[in-house]
Assembly symmetry: C2
Homo-oligomer: 458 residues x 2
Amino acid sequence: MNQQIIILIMMLFAASPLFPGDLKSISQSADSIVKTALRDSTGYKLLESLCQIGPRLSGSEQSVKAALFSLDAMKKQGYDTAWLQPITVPKWVRGTKERAILKSGKGKKLKPLSVASLGGSIGTNGSISAGVIEINSFNEMKSKAGDIKDKIVFYNVKWDQGLVNTFNGYGRLAGYRVFGGIEAAKYGAKGFIVRSITTRNDNTPHTGVTYYNDTLPKIPGLAIGIIDADFLSNYIKKDPSAKVTLEMNCYSAGDVPSYNVIGEIKGKEFPYEILTVSGHLDSWDKGDGAHDDGAGCMQSLEIPYLLKKTGYQNKRTVRCVLFMNEENGYRGADGYANLIANDGKEHLLAIESDRGAYTPRGFTVEKDTALVGILREFLPVLRKAGIDWVETGGSGADIARLKTIKNLIGFVPDDQRYFDVHHSANDVFSEVNHRELELGSASMAILIMLIDKNDLIK
Amino acid sequence: MNQQIIILIMMLFAASPLFPGDLKSISQSADSIVKTALRDSTGYKLLESLCQIGPRLSGSEQSVKAALFSLDAMKKQGYDTAWLQPITVPKWVRGTKERAILKSGKGKKLKPLSVASLGGSIGTNGSISAGVIEINSFNEMKSKAGDIKDKIVFYNVKWDQGLVNTFNGYGRLAGYRVFGGIEAAKYGAKGFIVRSITTRNDNTPHTGVTYYNDTLPKIPGLAIGIIDADFLSNYIKKDPSAKVTLEMNCYSAGDVPSYNVIGEIKGKEFPYEILTVSGHLDSWDKGDGAHDDGAGCMQSLEIPYLLKKTGYQNKRTVRCVLFMNEENGYRGADGYANLIANDGKEHLLAIESDRGAYTPRGFTVEKDTALVGILREFLPVLRKAGIDWVETGGSGADIARLKTIKNLIGFVPDDQRYFDVHHSANDVFSEVNHRELELGSASMAILIMLIDKNDLIK
């Protein structure tokens, strides 16, 4: 049996696309990419400049400045070409007022709650006062259908700290924010408040998009910091006739012109085959959108620079796409999908970075399980930038809409701190660690290099 | 050949200690440990209380308070027994003065530099003024041997951001701090300044131990923040006759009594077989020693609680040891080594957590490569708390001195941010993320449970 085992082992090795010589050369290229990313810190410095522009909500003046800044940065990084793709985006304006004042049943003013209007919410047109009904699930709301009319619905559904994957934690709660207004309107609520979706124990409200349905009344919605959510919950148990007065002057200002930002370094052998790296340029307006998703954009922008600086001659065109309007409309992704549907090019791959600038852990591959196996063979190389695994899984909110791209990959950094800052005033540049961001850039650059150099996808 | 492949594959699976039924039960126990750690956040809350005591340099009043606090916490966590092991430790006192004033060659006072006396340094007995000679390696110093007499040696060796493993970065620089005084004294220097060993671009000095040699004069040493290190380097190039005046009143106060803290939950089947989890209780006095190593201590303290709360009946005794004096003497580790050398017990395993409270990545096994293979088979279970790999490697500074313990394992969390805060005023509780800390506790608790339940080591 011994000889047969040896033969089998030899066969297993022979099946690998990596021969020792190749592996050494690829390893050296990967080392060079990692060292350059960490030493130059180009993506991190770009992010610092981007964050200085301020928050970049779609349709805002800053979002256009951010697009122009990125276009300019692509040119400075040595891209062959870079351009703006015109699109239109919905413009929502937070306004100057977003207040929720708690008053006792006897009318005594107790405290202003720490709140933030939800993106897309209507304003209150003056103010609204109403009793508060706490709801802990949509099923519970159904069972209390008769008690909701003219109330403010308070979705106080708590984050489950017991879930290790924080995106699973987010997924269980996001529906209350996104659809809470529609569901509460069915039963005649006057407004709604959602407990902030966060892992951090503070009182900062975390905003995000909320949707309406044209067949139902539109009611205003706010996010509340979790310390005040607990306070409100406890208070209305003791004093059920307490009221909250909402005052918000946010509004939707229709569609306005905006841009995706696209740039390329042309492929030397197959210029019409496109490998894409991407992030979304818009951000919520409470912080600077440093992690969500300034980081993903500047990492993507840095990747062609890293390949060029380390002397890698890309066979295929490496393209960076910065999408506008991921947070509240996906107009950028949809516009880009239209652009590439019939452009005569082979869109082989897209990678998205939209999970924060934390240390790399893995890559998730959407649909194509064969690619999972292929990439796993290169884990010794990917590990140089911190990637420990490749799994089947979702890619990213923007690229998942690009149906003509054959292979979609999500970059997965460590996720323990992302929802500490996500969609809040805490999502600022000082929360980003330069080394963690740069390892993300390097891991995606290495992946592009591996795929391109070894012709791993067609 | 096909049938032979099938047989071979079956043999490979048969060699695994895991049968499907066991795996399911172990997986459920691991899930329970992780959920309990993340939801209860016991270790994190303990760390908050520990940090409120203040910095815990060996021999300080706070270090004794921290020992008593830990002893009490062990009892409150449901340990069967807990006690203090008396040891003596060297006491070093920072004093009230640690100044380095830069003056131009013409005697004009330019600026006070951001400095911190090195642990163990002598004071200046008044003040010392001298010219500064910049040194970038011990070899360079040898080549400039004639220029060093009566100077202040300035070791300005920079962190290499290009190294991915930050402990490698640290390892290349620590010698200048630890032995810089001895080496400079050989050539007649009057004092020495070391560039802070850090990944973060700020001006906070990072302290740490420095050693003397009884055959050479003792000269005072300070760490300097890296922004001022660059300033000093640039300035003395332009004005080589510039001088620095050092004033430090730190001193060594001899040996004083102190304690290791030890606690156990007794094994139900093999009480004389000991599985140990550990950290070091002392810390440098610039921050609160939150990451280094309050976190490792409180994670270790939490592990028996996690096993008990999730209903795990440990066959072997699970012991938590909190060492005193890792930072400047290893007296705790050496005292504990003496204690267990002939106590008639089987010290099977020790794990140390002393790399910060960051998200788990892996475990390193010292010496016993067979254990690496065994533990790798359990990666699907260890992954539940974020452990992606098991490798051969060093364990920890304290447990490496415990020669009678058969198996030594180092807990390896993500290392990108550790040297941002290490040994500096930035190592405070607010820099610790509760989820990252708790995943560390859970990963070590799962490892102990796996080893104990499956009799993996003897």
